[in-house]
């Protein structure tokens, strides 16, 4: 079972790459439309000094934003569960944050915030924030009522109930939020850079894609795209591993191993 989960996607990848290569060769598609996989790899290695630096910059924004989103999101969730009143007053604005497209507000943020890195981090944080808020709030509220009564009967303090009941109950939801949010932070970082354009000193992968587009350097565009995808997959895998480790007691994690 476990081997299948790795072997099958790898087989699919090999088949698809093979097909890509075959089609490009068979129809003699010019390199400025679709480069062959070999060409993309070759470009990736050749342009690594350029692309590697950009990858580093994009990842830096992503991690900063993800970190901010986690800290802020958890703090807001704790505030929400402290009182229904606060939640009722502010939850709609959290939703507002979620439904407003980042491309629409990014120009404003870029104007308001002088430091380009900071403005990118803010945009990406806004994109990544909501799943953390909503999942953590839901988790902190999803306490088994029987356990809650047990704590009450044993005269548990508010602090004991929080640390020994609410937080452990919320963890599976929180980690669910992390998985979604990590991907969103990357998307946010890339999208914000698209909007910000050539502002900063340390350019990211979005800038490389834009530049390659202007210069019709399609292999490099593909290489940058490949790097974004790989970064996303890696981030997701990292989150899965993290939650597996932290939730070794949790059934939904365990069932994957059987």
């Amino acid at each position: 079972m476990k081997a299948q989960r790795i072997v099958l996607p790898v087989v699919v990848a090999i088949v698809l790459i093979g097909l890509w290569h075959g089609l490009v060769k068979a129809f003699e598609i010019p390199v400025y439309l679709v480069p062959s996989p070999g060409k993309v790899l070759e470009t990736l290695i050749k342009d690594w000094s350029l692309l590697g630096g950009s990858l580093y910059n994009t990842l830096k924004i992503t991690f900063f934003a993800f970190f901010c989103a986690v800290v802020l999101g958890v703090a807001i969730a704790f505030l929400f569960v402290q009182s229904k009143f606060i939640e009722a007053a502010f939850f709609p604005y959290a939703v507002l944050l979620q439904v407003t497209p980042i491309v629409a507000i990014a120009p404003l943020i870029i104007i308001w915030v002088k430091n380009p890195t900071a403005s990118l981090v803010i945009c990406a944080t806004l994109v990544a924030l909501f799943p953390i808020i909503s999942n953590t709030t839901l988790g902190l509220r999803s306490v088994n009522p029987g356990l809650q009564q047990l704590f009450k009967m044993n005269r548990a303090t508010r602090w004991q109930t929080l640390t020994r009941l609410r937080i452990p109950s919320a963890l599976p939801y929180f980690f669910g939020g992390l998985r979604i949010s990590s991907g969103l932070a990357l998307i946010g970082a890339v999208v914000a850079e698209f909007v910000a354009g050539t502002g900063g000193t340390g350019v990211g992968l979005a800038y490389q894609i834009l530049q390659s587009g202007y210069q019709l350097n399609i292999p490099r565009m593909f290489a940058a795209l490949l790097l974004i995808t790989l970064a996303g997959v890696l981030l997701f895998a990292l989150m899965v591993a993290l939650s597996k480790w932290a939730l070794s007691w949790h059934e939904s994690e365990l069932s994957n191993d059987h």
């Binding site: 047990l150 009967m153 005269r155």
Partner: protein, 276 residues
């Protein structure tokens, strides 16, 4: 011959331990869950609340536990309201219908929880957790996670958690309701042994007439719409009660009596509803 086991036979020597004085409950949404109930329970009794779904058994039990306030009337434990139970030097614990274990905590951690919440010191707690697990026969599963145990074993852990504080009073809300009959009979048997051994007082909620007859010194029969107590039936049979008691004529007699009592109440309800 087994008279010395019939501890309920000399209750007059002891002050009533639980006094329910015209306690009633109306939920905030207007549901009249319980009409005024009067009930006295003596130390050492095994009282079962028997009745159809919705008759207010859980409501009454939670009111006794202090988890729900009574709308009207009073409930006294050792002559004090439930908030003051600590001052009486007694302890009470509650066993829920489901095992309600913390999935992130091992068996020992779950059993230990009440002690930790109450600030019992660590080495003392270790000893008591081990004793409690031994009582329910789960010493070997000290370090297992709840999900690694069967439903019946999880219920035992829940009982061990209920026993770990050395309570004198245990309230159990359909603790074995979700289990198969064989496991349930076994746990009933074990529970009776614990009750005798630790001189507990138990208030036990069940749907099952047979479980009620088998376990109790007294059955409190309840009816629904509106929730109320309709009858108290002493089960005047000696302990220990072995499996043979389940197939005795006396057993059948009590079961028949309870069955008829429950039927009469539900027929009366249907008549009343038909008349409307």
């Amino acid at each position: 011959m087994a008279d010395d086991h019939r501890r309920y036979a000399q209750p007059k020597l002891l002050a009533p331990m639980i006094e329910i004085l015209s306690a009633s409950k109306t939920y905030p949404n207007g549901t009249h869950a319980l009409q005024p109930v009067d009930l006295k329970i003596q130390e050492g009794e095994f009282v079962t609340l028997l009745g159809p779904s919705g008759c207010g058994k859980s409501t009454l039990l939670k009111m006794i536990a202090g988890l729900l306030p009574a709308t009207d009337g009073r409930i006294l434990l050792w002559s004090k309201p439930v908030e003051a139970i600590e001052s009486t030097g007694h302890r009470m614990s509650f066993v829920f219908q489901e095992a309600t274990l913390m999935p992130w905590s091992r068996v020992a951690g779950n059993v230990r929880l009440p002690l930790e919440l109450q600030g019992v010191d660590s080495s003392d707690a270790d000893q008591r957790v081990n004793d409690s697990l031994a009582l329910v026969g789960l010493s070997k599963f000290h370090d297992a996670y709840p999900r690694e145990l069967s439903g019946g074993m999880q219920m035992r852990v829940s009982i061990a958690r209920g026993l770990v504080t050395n309570p004198t009073l245990i309230l159990m809300d359909e603790p074995f309701g979700a289990l198969d009959e064989i496991t349930r009979n076994k746990l009933d048997q074990d529970l009776l042994e614990l009750w005798q051994q630790k001189k507990l007082t138990v208030i036990f909620v069940t749907h099952s007439i047979y479980e009620a007859v088998y376990l109790s010194t007294r059955v409190v029969v309840m009816a629904a719409r509106p929730g109320r107590v309709i009858e108290e039936v002493p089960i005047d049979e000696p302990f220990p009660r072995g499996p043979e008691f389940r197939v005795s004529t006396q057993f059948a007699g009590y079961a028949k009596h309870l069955q008829e009592s429950l039927l009469r109440a539900s027929n009366a309800n249907e008549l009343a509803e038909g008349a409307l």
